[in-house]
Amino acid sequence: MFTTADLDAIWLTLRLASIVTVLLLIVGTPIAWWLARTRSWLKGPVGAIVALPLVLPPTVLGFYMLVAMGPNGAIGQFTQALGIGLLPFSFWGLVIASVVYSLPFVVQPIQNAMQALGERPLEAAATLRVGPWERFFCVVLPLSKPGFITAAILGFAHTVGEFGVVLMIGGNIPQETRVVSVQIYDYVEAMEYGQAHLLAGLMVAFSFVVLLGVYGFQRQGNNSMLGVK
């Protein structure tokens, strides 16, 4: 069955994905709101930058993060000036890399949900003299809930499945950066296919359940949007 190293990797992965998901919701919501509402010419470029991790090969992204976070890179010099030191090979380095890597998976569902709201609920709230902050927290957020739930699940699942970026900046440190996908990879490379199958099986089962949840939830969401409920 699972070794201690496997369990460490599973626990680490869950911890990483949870923290990343919370941060993504915090960072992604204002970006999604801005993208959903703005008429600025910057909408296109910003949307494209957010979506870049969808297209770039993870190892390419990881390599440039390694360079940028290194002692000669801009981010590395910034973190050193702050006294944090260098980010690669640390848990928090992985967290930051994962936030960048999974950003489109969180921003896009939230943005879509917010766009689908249209102007009317906001206008109605405005005529009732509801201020902009209250409008956002009491109207926009509750009505966009399906988008947030999809975003959280996709962000979490995508971080669990992350490999290339972690491989590039992680350094394979037990309980710090050795996540499940890396552990599986190590087993394959070491020709320990049995252990690899076991962990990979767990991952397949987990991903299936997550996706099943997303699709089940989306169907419900559609129904309520059509007023069927």
Partner: protein
């Protein structure tokens, strides 16, 4: 459009393609041998007119790919165990296995003067991270742990280890400055007989078991003249000189 008009051209195109196919060899090469192999192959193509396609990666990945039908003709491994494993499975042409290079290990930093041609930096504890290849996967990683063991530094340094999945990635960790120093293949930092940048300590070869790297001809390519020519060329004086200039020894 009259297709028949183009048929002779098409036929000619096909013949040319199939001819060049027969004279082509697809070699899967361990990451540490990348630099040397490119140089050797350039010479080989010039001397013989054969065409070589190269795929680089960790030996473990290449092994898994070959077992699952990857279209490689020759395999240059970073160790002896993996060609042996293929041989045991009957995937290797009988008698084709030979040691094409014996690897050397170096402790390297991208910073000049960081390493003063010895391992005192490791005992000083005055460094952020020590990069090495994963000893479970990479022969150079295993050699690195043997060296640390022999120096009595394995336990003391372990908390600062960062592991690359292969030696190319380990090199990256050090080259980008994220790890102050690391154990890399001498071949990676040596070109034309010199260590080209940073500072280093070439580890005495009595501190680790020899990193013998074997090459094999795969059974599926036993009639591929380009493949046999390439393996023969690797054992020629011309190739061995190139291989040695990258810090390997040869037999």
């Amino acid at each position: 459009m009259n297709v028949a008009k183009y048929l002779p051209w098409l036929a000619m195109g096909l013949t040319v393609t199939s001819q060049s196919w027969a004279e082509q060899v697809h070699a899967a090469v361990a990451a540490n041998f990348t630099g040397a192999m490119k140089f050797v192959v350039a010479q080989f193509e010039q001397d013989t007119g054969y065409d070589v396609r190269l795929s680089f990666g960790s030996s473990g990945k290449i092994l898994a790919q070959i077992q699952n039908g990857a279209p490689f003709d020759v395999f240059l491994s970073a160790d002896q165990a993996k060609p042996q494993a293929l041989q045991n499975k009957g995937l290797v042409q009988e008698g084709s296995r030979f040691t094409y290079a014996i690897g050397a290990l170096a402790l390297w930093s991208s910073l000049p003067d960081f390493i003063e041609n010895d391992y005192s930096r490791l005992t000083s504890d005055d460094y952020n991270k020590l990069a090495l290849a994963n000893p479970k996967l990479a022969p150079y990683g295993l050699a690195a742990t043997e060296v640390l063991q022999a120096l009595g530094l394995k336990d003391a340094t372990q908390a600062k280890w960062v592991q690359g999945e292969n030696i190319a990635q380990t090199y990256q960790f050090v080259a980008t400055g994220n790890a102050d120093l690391g154990f890399v293949a001498l071949s990676q930092i040596m070109s034309k007989g010199h260590v080209t940048e940073g500072s280093s300590w070439i580890v005495p070869s009595d501190l680790y078991s020899p990193i013998r790297q074997d090459a094999v001809l795969l059974k599926t390519a036993k009639d591929n003249s380009a493949a046999t020519a390439l393996l023969a060329y690797l054992q020629s004086d011309a190739a061995q000189q190139i291989i040695q200039s990258y810090g390997y020894t040869t037999e």
